[in-house]
Every structure is written in structure tokens, then in C-alpha cells.
């Protein structure tokens, strides 16, 4: 039996040339120093690939149950979550391994950038890597749409209206993406095709090229300060280095396996503990209270767009991503020679710090989203008790009007409520009665954030609201504009010694 199998293998090998091709690949040497501790910098690319493998496996599993039809997708997700044994875990793992893949890609890219590994002769490897990043982000976006809940619906609506801003071709692009002019039954099918066939096809093709280039150009040696990359001499030097090299299938591979196993374990634990993401409420275009957020890799863009003046929105949506991708493509062409060690490339280190700080801050803003009103704060967030106690009947009615007119959706009291406008907990100490009336009636001057409420409130409602606002001030502090000894407006309880 064994002999028979051997014969069969030889027969295939003689015709397919598998061993002639693979054997040298498997024995390809890597620089000796990768055997040492510096080799741990080289594990992130393979970890990304491990996550990709998990994505493919879990994705196949999910596709056996998921129904890419607008009227059944949501139900099939519920089925996965609640009925299919381990279905919830499959969804959870697919989400967190996808997130892990993005994280590993970013770390891998950062390492390659910081250590100058993209320099001659590996420029093309970097460019294909950028394409892999673009594909991965595309997978994340289209995957979110397949979740087909409220977030997916509005994410798609936002994405489509962004695409619609492309000059001339905009409507055509939207029509192609959505399979119609509006989000409908075909939209989900289109995104299913993108997520399951088109983008993965591109991704695997690019990955093949990327790996081929890695083998072809060899793995760069860990950088040493003073070792200059010069395209004229690099090949010869590297060739010499490899003669003293060690096989990749050895210590380097063990490091990769160890780190990938660790990364996968962490993701599996997170997936089991945190559970699948969503689906949130079923998609409903009439839901006014929907508060959709993009997936985390896009939160920084959400933050950037929300904080930018409307005049440059289109620029940020259409030109900015092209600039970012273009800048990434051009990295190796700006400098493909010279020092590789981060200690000799302060500009590169500074750039990484600035970029990650910016992304971090914008992501934080995207999570907080202080520009979004809290649509149910008026009816759901109680007025803090100490702002209720001791108020006069008029001030109490004012507090009720304050809630009922939805002021709370933008203005927090003691930090609870919307954050689009300022917190009003101590407003009585800073604005006078007249200023409050003007502000409420006319809104922010010059078409600012706050709308004018003058026509939406009766004089009594205005009177009561202003009385309540004047009463909002720290203990013992006079209303804004009041002079000591003058009659105090509003009737916040005075310290006991004054009333006794």
C-alpha cells in the first residue's frame, strides 16, 4: 500500500514538478540574525495570513447558513445566534479574527515602514501590501453590510451617498453598488457578491503576488544603523548574507507559528467571552431614533468627516482617500535607499507617531460622537435630583419644558444628556436672563449650531425655562449679572443663615 502511494506521488510529481518548485522554496534561506530576538519583528505578516485563513474557514461555515436575501438575512443571523449550535461562536470568531487581521496588517505595515524593509528591492512588495490593506478594509465594510441590521442599513446609506458625490459617474456607481437607485432587495446581493467572491478573489490574488515577491526578493535582514541600502550594491551584499543564512523552515517558522497561535488564542477567547457583534434592530428606514456608527476601522473617518466644515466634506470623502492610498503607494518611491534603522530615520518615526496619534484622537471622537444629539435624552434621562429639589413651581415647570422641548438631547445636565451644545448645569452663573432669552429665541448667531426656538415656545414656556436655567448655579453663587445686595432673581434656596 505504502509503495503504491509512493508510486502515485512520484507519478504526479514527475508531471507537476511539485518538488522541483516547492523544495527550493521550503529550503529558502533567511538572514542569520532572524534566528535571534530581532526575528520577533517578522511575525506580524504571517499572523495576518493566519487570521485570513480563519476568515476563510469561518466565512465558509457562515455562508452555509446565511441567506443573502434582504427579507431573510436578518432572520438567518438570529438563527445562527440562537439556534445553530456554535453558530454564535462562528459569527463572533469571524468578526474578531477580521478585526485581528486589520490590527496585524497595521502592525506589520508599521514594522516594515519603521525598519525600512520597503526599500530596494522590495518596493513592489510594499505596493501590493497596500492593495492588500485596501482589500481588507473593503472586506470589513462589505461584511458590516451583510449584518443587515440598522447599522448596516445606515452604513450602506452613508456609503452610497458618499459614492454619489463622485462627479459625473456618481449616479452610475451608486446604481451599480445598490443594484438600483435606492437600497433594496438587490443591494444585499451585490454586497454579498463583493464580500464573498470579488474582494476575496482580489485579496487572494494580491496575497499570492505578495508572497511570491517575498520569496523572490528575500526577507530583509534586521536593520543596523549605518548599513546603507544602495541599489547598486544591495543585491550582492544580500546574496553574501544569505550564504551565511539559516533556512526559513526552522527557527523563523517556529516564531511565526508561536505568535500566530498566541494571536489566535487571544481572538478565540475574546470571541467566546464577548460574543458576536449584533445584529442590532432589524433595518428600518423609518426608525428616527437610529444612531448608526461605522465599524471601528472607519471610526476615524467618521470623526474626521463630522468635525470638518461642510464645505470640505466632498474633498474628504473623494479626494482624501485617494491621497492617502497614493501616499502609501509612493512611500518606497520617495526613498528606496539609505538608512533603514529607525534610530537614523527620525522623520519616519515622527510620522508614525503623528499618524497614530491622529487616528487615535479621531477614533476617540468617533466613539464619543459629541456632535450627535442623544435623541431620547429628553424622555429618558432624569433631571438630576439636586437640580429639582428646592426649585419653585415655575422653575419646576421650566425643567419640564426643558425636557419636553428636547433641549436635553443636545444639552447635558451634570454630564448626562447630549453633548452637541454646552452642559447647562451652571448656566445661571454665566448668562443673564436677557442673554438666555436671546439665545433661546434666536439660536446661535450667524447660523451656528443651536436652532432658534423663539417661534416654538409660548411666552410662558420661555419664562419658565429661563427661570429654571437661572436657578442652575453653584450653591450661594449669584445669577450672572446680579450685584451683591441687589434683589436676587430666581429663588434658589439661600444658605440657612440667610433664611432663618
Amino acid at each position: 500500500m505504502y509503495q503504491l502511494l509512493r508510486k502515485l506521488a512520484h507519478w504526479i510529481d514527475a508531471r507537476a514538478g511539485v518538488s522541483a518548485t516547492l523544495w527550493p522554496m521550503m529550503r529558502h534561506p533567511v538572514p542569520r540574525s532572524i534566528d535571534g530576538p530581532m526575528g520577533w519583528w517578522y511575525v506580524f505578516g504571517s499572523a495576518s495570513m493566519t487570521f485570513l485563513l480563519i476568515q476563510i474557514l469561518t466565512g465558509i461555515g457562515l455562508s452555509m447558513v446565511y441567506v443573502p436575501a434582504a427579507d431573510q438575512a436578518y432572520e438567518s443571523l438570529l438563527y445562527l445566534d440562537y439556534q445553530q449550535p456554535w453558530g454564535w461562536f462562528l459569527r463572533s470568531l469571524h468578526y474578531y479574527a477580521g478585526s485581528g487581521m486589520v490590527v496585524m496588517l497595521l502592525v506589520h505595515m508599521t514594522q516594515v515602514f519603521l525598519q525600512g524593509s520597503y526599500k530596494y528591492p522590495r518596493e513592489l512588495t510594499w505596493v501590493v501590501g497596500v492593495l492588500l490593506l485596501a482589500c481588507t478594509m473593503g472586506m470589513f465594510f462589505t461584511g458590516q453590510i451583510l449584518r443587515w441590521d440598522t447599522d448596516a442599513y445606515w452604513g450602506l446609506a452613508v456609503g452610497a451617498s458618499m459614492a454619489g458625490r463622485v462627479p459625473v459617474l456618481g449616479p452610475e456607481i451608486v446604481h451599480t453598488l445598490l443594484g438600483g437607485d435606492i437600497i433594496g432587495a438587490s443591494s444585499l446581493s451585490r454586497f454579498f457578491a463583493l464580500h464573498v467572491f470579488i474582494i476575496p478573489g482580489a485579496l487572494l490574488t494580491f496575497l499570492g503576488i505578495h508572497l511570491w515577491l517575498v520569496l523572490r526578493c528575500g526577507i530583509s535582514a534586521p536593520p543596523k544603523p549605518g548599513e546603507i541600502v544602495d541599489p547598486k550594491t544591495y543585491d550582492a551584499t544580500y546574496h553574501e548574507e544569505l550564504k551565511r543564512g539559516v533556512p526559513f523552515f526552522g527557527d523563523a517558522l517556529l516564531k511565526d507559528i508561536f505568535f500566530s497561535a498566541l494571536a489566535v488564542t487571544i481572538v478565540v477567547v475574546i470571541a467566546a467571552v464577548v460574543g458576536p457583534k449584533g445584529p442590532t434592530e432589524p433595518p428600518d428606514p423609518t426608525l428616527a431614533g437610529a444612531n448608526p456608527r461605522p465599524e471601528w476601522p472607519f471610526l476615524w473617518l467618521f470623526g474626521l468627516l463630522s468635525l470638518s466644515p461642510p464645505a470640505i466634506e466632498t474633498f474628504i470623502m473623494l479626494v482624501f482617500p485617494v491621497l492617502v492610498l497614493g501616499a502609501l503607494f509612493f512611500v518606497p518611491f520617495v526613498s528606496n535607499r539609505g538608512e533603514r534603522a529607525p534610530s537614523r530615520r527620525p522623520a519616519a518615526v515622527l510620522l508614525v507617531i503623528v499618524i497614530y496619534t491622529t487616528l487615535g484622537v479621531l477614533t476617540y471622537e468617533g466613539v464619543q460622537a459629541p456632535w450627535s444629539p442623544v435623541m431620547d435624552a429628553w424622555s429618558g434621562d432624569p433631571v438630576p435630583v439636586n437640580l429639582v429639589e428646592g426649585r419653585t413651581p415655575l422653575e419646576l415647570q421650566g425643567a419640564a419644558v426643558f425636557q419636553f422641548k428636547n433641549c436635553r438631547n443636545c444639552h447635558a445636565l451634570e454630564g448626562i444628556g447630549g453633548r452637541r451644545g454646552p452642559d447647562l448645569t451652571t448656566i445661571g452663573a454665566s448668562l443673564t436672563r436677557d442673554q438666555l432669552i436671546t439665545q433661546i429665541s434666536n439660536g446661535t448667531p450667524g447660523g451656528g449650531n443651536m436652532p432658534a426656538y423663539g417661534k416654538q415656545m409660548s411666552p410662558a414656556e420661555m419664562e419658565a425655562t429661563v427661570a429654571f436655567l437661572i436657578s442652575l448655579r453653584p450653591d450661594g453663587q449669584l445669577p450672572a449679572g446680579a450685584v451683591e445686595d441687589a434683589p436676587v432673581e430666581g429663588t434658589t434656596p439661600q444658605p440657612v443663615e440667610l433664611t432663618e
Binding site: 449550535p85 454564535w88 467571552v273 429639589e389 415655575l394 425643567a399 419640564a400
Partner: protein, 247 residues
């Protein structure tokens, strides 16, 4: 790893396994009273139905007096003349007919009846004036105004001062109730409700409580409450007959 986990334990043990009970519901399908209350009522009526700007809802006296139909109607249609908005979808609110019913029924049953520190005696509930006034028109003749003013002085002036202007009269926190803006934002029925029930959360006594009232104070009758409401209503209109009060 997955296989290990599958062998080791039942997958119900994982904290990440979604619980069907936590399944997110569309707003109009929520049927849990506590959730509906927290999303729709606490903004004005306070986290536990008290200590909000609007009158407390956890008041056993209030809950005992208000007829089911009236409670349901107030949630559905709001209280015209007060900040209380209509919550039924067909009246411009956000709640389905079913959800309005759930809130109305839930209010009556949510706070256990033994939470009656404020209503010291079941008799107070039993003897309380009806929630709705039997009088159809609350109009004071000039003579009746004096009578109502006298009544006001006995029942309300300790906190709100004789002319309703509030002020530092011992129970300093009473505050002005002769303010036309305040009166424009509270309906006659809401005034009646608050006179009967008081505000146990903010220290306002109910129709029978003796706090801050003369020693010979007797619980207010339905007719007397009508008179008081009529007096306040005349202040609201700024009637000349109301004299100095309301200025």
C-alpha cells in the same frame, strides 16, 4: 481550540453566547414596563417615578385615585395646558397603542402598595376627594373670591404666602404659585391633582396632611379644592376680581 472547548463543556457556559432575551427589539415592539418607563417617563417624572420636575408617579394616593381610563388617556393624549406631551403614535408620539396600555397598567402595579410612608393611613386614600372634579365650570363670583382667599390662607399660605407669591415663610421652599407663567403651564385638572396628592417627594402636603397648616385644619373637600383651583385660575387670567393676588 474550538474542538477542545466543544469537548470540555457545554457551549451554554460561554459568556459570549447570546441570550435570546437580550435580542434587540424595534422600539415599537418593546413590551417591558420598566424599559418603557425608563425610555419615556423618567426624563420628567424622575428615575423611580419621583423627584423629577413633573409630579411623582410612584405616589400611592395618586395611583389609587386616578381612574384607569383617565390615566390611559393622559399618557395617550398628553395633558393639554401642561408640558405633558401625547405619547401615542397616532397623536404624534412614539408609542404604539399597546405600549400606552402597558405603561398605564404598569404604573398602577409597579410600585408596591406597602410603600405608603407618605400616606400614613389607608383612610386618607379612602376619604380622598375624587380625582376628577364634578364641577363643570370653575368660575368665582366676587363674593366667593374672598371665601376662596380665606381657604387659601388656611391651606396654602404657610408655604406659598397669603397672595401665592411664595417667599420666606418658614417652609421657604414653597415658592410662588401666583406667577402667570407658571399658571399658564398647569391645567386646572393638574392643579386639582397636585392639591389632592401634594408632592411627597418635595415636601408638599396632600389634601389632608396637617404639615404647616393651622391646628384646626380639616382635610380639604372636593368643593373646597374646586374653589382653590378656581382662585388660581382667576390669577392665571389676571382677573380684576382677584385683587392684589396674582400680581
Amino acid at each position: 481550540m474550538v474542538a477542545c472547548a466543544a469537548f470540555v463543556g457545554c457551549n451554554d457556559d460561554f459568556p459570549g453566547k447570546p441570550n435570546p432575551a437580550d435580542r434587540p427589539l424595534p422600539q415599537n415592539e418593546i413590551t417591558d414596563f420598566a424599559t418603557l418607563f425608563a425610555q419615556n417617563c423618567t426624563g420628567c417624572h424622575g428615575a423611580d417615578g419621583e423627584l423629577g420636575p413633573a409630579p411623582p408617579l410612584n405616589d400611592p394616593l395618586f395611583l389609587a385615585l386616578i381612574p384607569d381610563e383617565t390615566l390611559h388617556a393622559v399618557i395617550r393624549d398628553g395633558r393639554p395646558g401642561t408640558p405633558m406631551p401625547a405619547f401615542a403614535a397616532e397623536r404624534g408620539g412614539t408609542l404604539s397603542t399597546e405600549q400606552v396600555k402597558i405603561i398605564a397598567a404598569g404604573l398602577k402595579s409597579h410600585w408596591p402598595a406597602d410603600k405608603t410612608e407618605e400616606v400614613s393611613d389607608a383612610a386618607i386614600v379612602a376619604d380622598a376627594p375624587p380625582y376628577l372634579s364634578s364641577a363643570t365650570i370653575l368660575q368665582l363670583t366676587p363674593g366667593a373670591t374672598d371665601q376662596a382667599s380665606t381657604l387659601f390662607e388656611r391651606a396654602c399660605a404657610e408655604c406659598h404666602s397669603p397672595n401665592g407669591a411664595g417667599g420666606e415663610t418658614g417652609y421657604a421652599s414653597g415658592g410662588a404659585i401666583n406667577d402667570r407663567a407658571f399658571l399658564a403651564l398647569i391645567s386646572d385638572q393638574a392643579l386639582r391633582r397636585i392639591i389632592i396628592t401634594g408632592r411627597h417627594d418635595l415636601g408638599m402636603p396632600n389634601y389632608a396632611a396637617p404639615d404647616g397648616r393651622p391646628e384646626d385644619f380639616k382635610p380639604l373637600t372636593s368643593a373646597e379644592i374646586d374653589e382653590l383651583v378656581a382662585l388660581l385660575a382667576s390669577w392665571r387670567r389676571g382677573d380684576a376680581a382677584a385683587g392684589d393676588a396674582g400680581k
